[in-house]
Subunit: 360 residues, 2 copies
Amino acid sequence: MFFNLQEEEKKMWQDNIRKVTPYTPGEQPKDKDVIKLNTNESPYPPSPMVQEVVRSVENNRNRLYPDPEAAVLTDAIAKYYNVDSNQVFVGVGSDDVIGMSFLTFFNSEKPILFPDITYSFYDVWADLFKIKYEMKPLNEKFEIVKEDYLVENGGIIFPNPNAPTAVEMQLDDIEYIIKNNRDSVVIIDEAYADFGDVSVLGLVNKYENLLVVRTYSKSRALAGMRIGYAIGSKTLISALKAVKFSYNSYTMNYVSICAGAAAINDDKYFKEIVSKVINTREKAKDTLKKLGFFFTDSKTNFLFATHKSVPAEEIFEELKKRKIYVRYFNKPRINNYLRITIGTDEEMEKLYEALKEIVK
Amino acid sequence: MFFNLQEEEKKMWQDNIRKVTPYTPGEQPKDKDVIKLNTNESPYPPSPMVQEVVRSVENNRNRLYPDPEAAVLTDAIAKYYNVDSNQVFVGVGSDDVIGMSFLTFFNSEKPILFPDITYSFYDVWADLFKIKYEMKPLNEKFEIVKEDYLVENGGIIFPNPNAPTAVEMQLDDIEYIIKNNRDSVVIIDEAYADFGDVSVLGLVNKYENLLVVRTYSKSRALAGMRIGYAIGSKTLISALKAVKFSYNSYTMNYVSICAGAAAINDDKYFKEIVSKVINTREKAKDTLKKLGFFFTDSKTNFLFATHKSVPAEEIFEELKKRKIYVRYFNKPRINNYLRITIGTDEEMEKLYEALKEIVK
């Protein structure tokens, strides 16, 4: 054994490297021919106003640090939702905003609660920040059971509509959870809410402990810019800002601050692309039903579907061979489902053609 | 007491909000007349190639998530420094890169070591991630004492040149520390190294446990874009990537990836603006000496100066009245010093005029 001592000593610093479970994000293929229905991006470009503002950024401005408060963006979001600017917090995508929220609000000894089938980063952030958690199983219809959230807890988070299930919870049911959890911060992740019928944004001035998180990556077609935001009471937002500024003041770059403001100001364009996605989604439901698929009643920009006879994994692989990428999660309860992003009508036609071949 | 119970109950969720020490970043005044020598930005704009690439970004590309590996940027940096692409890690400013490095490498029960006077975020990140630390005092000349770093530790980090002292450590002395710490990860934060004479980049293939961190915010005039990077062994870089991807895959936006590659490819422009800053700095040393200032032999883009008779805080306030912003830290040992960023020659002339009035 001893002859190898030096070799072993050399590696001692490696013992202190953090052990992590690697995460595989949805593929970002370089091949331009691929039909990309795997990461819930918008099939339409961002508002032309975004292009205009990006092109007009003065090069000399980039030598300076961005405004740490991102006031131009924060003010635009506040105006759009008719809340005060100090009720808005912005970050580098909603992942950044939610991660920061975990760090800021979930510091109890009691476990935080979220569904067993939900956004895959909640348990990752909880582990990262050493936050205890309990996962509450969705029912057979993939619905959140509101009564499960009446137990003692250190905080609550779930998306509405939920992902990857695409199921939307009704406003009364969410308010029931918030009303019965006045001692915890309740975070509703509304990443997909623009494609649905329900939002709790109207409740932020009623419940001081409610935080709503949103993203520019789906409905606003700006996944490439990394912009997310949270809306809540002044108390929640000032706590988020204090934590953020205490350890990393400058995160959103100048270009994204300007682009984010431009995008939210172009409401006409936004409504247009969102309604196109919704129309395509409803047509997709009809077509997939005829092809023998079952799915939840999606209120998002994707379908969560299973086929009556062909295994999901097989469909996933066959579609990939045909250069159509969708998402498959090899996880308990959902390993016979596909998450299919709604593309343009042309992309969806190609999907249907391919599916006809595969499930025939 | 009891009549107030409901009020108190309502606030219980606030008990779980993280308590932090607020940090005040250097002011970003909106007034364009201000001479801004307070946050160590470049007085010159970024390369014109940056403007070109920002303007040429296809709007439709922004609807897609950015490449999580940021390969275009990583490859450009690797090529520039003649290392492999898998020896480069990029992030949203060097704060992001260093924070991620703390999380990845500093997981020992032994304390990490850094100087008592140094970049103000090291202890913040250590507290945030519950990492033990010991601060080693600089000597009377504000130099790092290499022998202090030979004790058992869970990691070492310091900037070279150090900030806000501007003092550069010699290559042999740094290598002495690395050589005697083969069981720890040693991070050298070279935020200002482009303005000095020393870099440990040449040692990354000799010491597998050495990580060098750099930023685009100073010498590359891109503080507004938020770009930082680390160079080290493949083992270190793959560990950083694993941790990053495990909890936040997409952070650098598409525009900044392109801008960063463009900036590093324009080496001629980069060398030109760096040498202009160095020339102005050396002239500033002559002038400030004549005005009765003492300072370290700066190898950065700022001076760390004290006056023989007028208190630093007074000079700071007087300069501010004249719309010249510099930085003053009200901290032990350095509370009679000013950190003065090197501006353009014109800006520095105005500084000298103001100082002549103030210290006369």
